[in-house]
């Protein structure tokens, strides 16, 4: 594949995803919402991801704390360790790492599920039985991902901070209330709100890309595998791009 053709493929893909996104918005405002399926997807996407997200969040907080400690001791600001870890987790690491793991777990599962449904004609079957598969499969999943990821990120933040608290206490002693005060003294709305808002976009991106890849999966089991794989890869990249845009916007708005 030569250079110009790579670009052509790229723009074709961007165009297709954009059209898919547009279709998502058109369909989500149409009547007959699939509430039952939405709740079911929330349960699968949100609740059932919690153990994984919680575990990674806990380890992340613990490791980050232990890694930062020597540097902070070098500068003589060891007492600022909770504040620093708190800001790092709430502002950036919590949302992005959680979104990446979410992309890995949910993006691939949506990609594979819709891909296999496409391949085994289940999506066609839905269409001929009078159920709008786009609304039933795509809209519910994207909305569920969009609503559940921020909640997962919040819980992951909380668990990370707890991990950090344990990390602080592995060497040295800090009471929970002191840790708590140190973290929250330094946190501002400008730290929490942009992170919270961007997490909706992360969830949306992971959901829509997983659905797009699955919905237009090519025939055969190989196509399903490729759908799952590209859903994770593209989803992760888009998460980083959204993060990049988000930091510019918060910078312009002076929320830093």
């Amino acid at each position: 594949m030569n250079f110009s053709e790579t670009w052509r493929e790229y723009f074709k893909e961007v165009g297709a995803i954009s059209q898919f996104t547009l279709r998502f918005f058109q369909q989500s405002f149409k009547p007959r919402n699939e509430w039952g399926e939405f709740i079911r997807q929330c349960y699968i996407i949100g609740y059932q991801s919690l153990p994984l997200i919680g575990l990674t969040g806990f380890i992340m907080g613990l490791v980050l704390t232990m890694q930062l400690r020597p540097s902070l001791i070098e500068y003589g600001v060891e007492s600022q360790l909770p504040a620093m870890v708190g800001i790092a987790i709430v502002r950036e690491i919590g949302p992005v790492i959680t979104a990446l793991i979410f992309a890995g777990k949910i993006g691939s599962s949506i990609g594979a599920e819709l891909g296999s449904m496409r391949v085994t004609e289940q999506i066609d079957a839905m269409e001929v039985s009078g159920t709008n598969p786009f609304k039933y499969l795509v809209v519910t999943r994207v909305l569920a991902a969009m609503v559940m990821l921020p909640i997962l990120i919040l819980l992951s933040d909380a668990i990370s901070l707890y991990g950090s608290f344990i990390g602080v206490n592995i060497r040295g002693f800090t009471s929970f209330s002191l840790f708590w005060n140190l973290v929250f003294d330094r946190l501002e709305f400008g730290d929490v709100l942009p992170a919270f808002i961007k997490s909706f976009f992360f969830g949306f991106a992971v959901g829509i890309i997983g659905c797009y890849k699955g919905y237009f999966s090519s025939k055969g089991t190989e196509g399903v595998g490729r759908s799952a794989n590209t859903a994770v890869v593209v989803g992760s990249i888009v998460v980083f791009f959204i993060d990049l845009i988000a930091v510019q916007i918060t910078d312009i708005l002076g929320l830093n």
Partner: protein, 258 residues
């Protein structure tokens, strides 16, 4: 039923029989690969028509065009008096309720039990029906295929033949006027294949449906077909009863029987 709707197109009649599906000059191509060049077909009420063709000859494309899953490049498709290509989504749904579709891969929803699979088509069109009635309909559909005991099983637990029968039950649950079968016996052993074919005929008699069957399984064709249309090179190559075609001298037709 048809007479009740004043807005429908004139019912196509031929030899005093009502044509439920009329296909005229259908053309469909994927890129440079031309699948259907100029296909014409009439399906009359209460008739079983088999479209016979080799793999990749565009049989599946044909019935997907009929149900509106694919848009043809050219041509006219009329189902139950309505031009499929001119309908909006809601109107298309109205037609689809009356047309059952049995997919080649069964297309049972993996994440749902058999009961949920059978209930799924009902959730749109039978909203006002009580849970009791839905249960009755599910059980009736399962009785038709003889698999009442699988009602709470997952599709993955069932054998290929059972899945095909469940899929058939699901197709029939809305009591369609027309059923489109996409290679109903593909991937099944000879005995199961025969069972499925007989079941198709039995149910067709019971509910007085019209069927369009896509197949290249001659046993199935023999059992089910009132009329056979041979699809070669994207066109209707030959047409006739199974017995007539079996004795045809045409080289292209002969290869199906040899």
């Amino acid at each position: 039923m048809l007479d009740a709707s004043p807005d429908i197109a004139p019912v196509v009649k031929k030899n005093n029989r009502i044509s439920v599906i009329t296909i005229e000059h259908l053309k469909k191509s994927f890129g440079t690969n031309i699948v259907l060049t100029d296909f014409n077909l009439n399906l009359f009420q209460g008739e079983n028509v088999v479209v016979l063709g080799r793999s990749g000859s565009g049989k599946s494309v044909l019935i997907k065009c009929i149900i509106g899953l694919l848009d043809p490049d050219q041509g006219q498709i009329t189902v139950l008096g309505k031009s499929i290509l001119d309908l909006n989504d809601d109107e298309l749904d109205q037609v689809r309720v009356k047309v059952g579709f049995l997919f080649q891969s069964n297309a049972l929803y993996d994440s749902m039990t058999v009961r949920q699979n059978l209930e799924f088509p009902l959730r749109r069109h039978w909203m006002k029906v009580s849970q009791q009635e839905v249960d009755n309909m599910v059980m009736e559909a399962l009785e038709n295929v003889g698999l009442e005991y699988t009602v709470d099983m997952m599709p993955i637990e069932l054998s290929g033949g059972m899945r095909k029968r469940i899929a058939l039950a699901r197709t029939l649950i809305l009591k369609p006027e027309i059923i489109l079968y996409d290679e109903p016996t593909t991937g099944l052993d000879a005995i199961t294949s025969k069972e499925i074919s007989e079941l198709m005929v039995k149910l067709q008699r019971k509910y007085n449906t019209s069927s369009l069957i896509i197949s290249h399984d001659m046993k199935c064709v023999q059992l089910t077909a009132d009329r056979v249309v041979v699809l070669i090179d994207g066109k209707c190559w030959a047409e006739g009863s199974f017995e007539v075609l079996r004795h045809s001298e045409d080289k292209m037709i002969r290869q199906f029987f040899d």
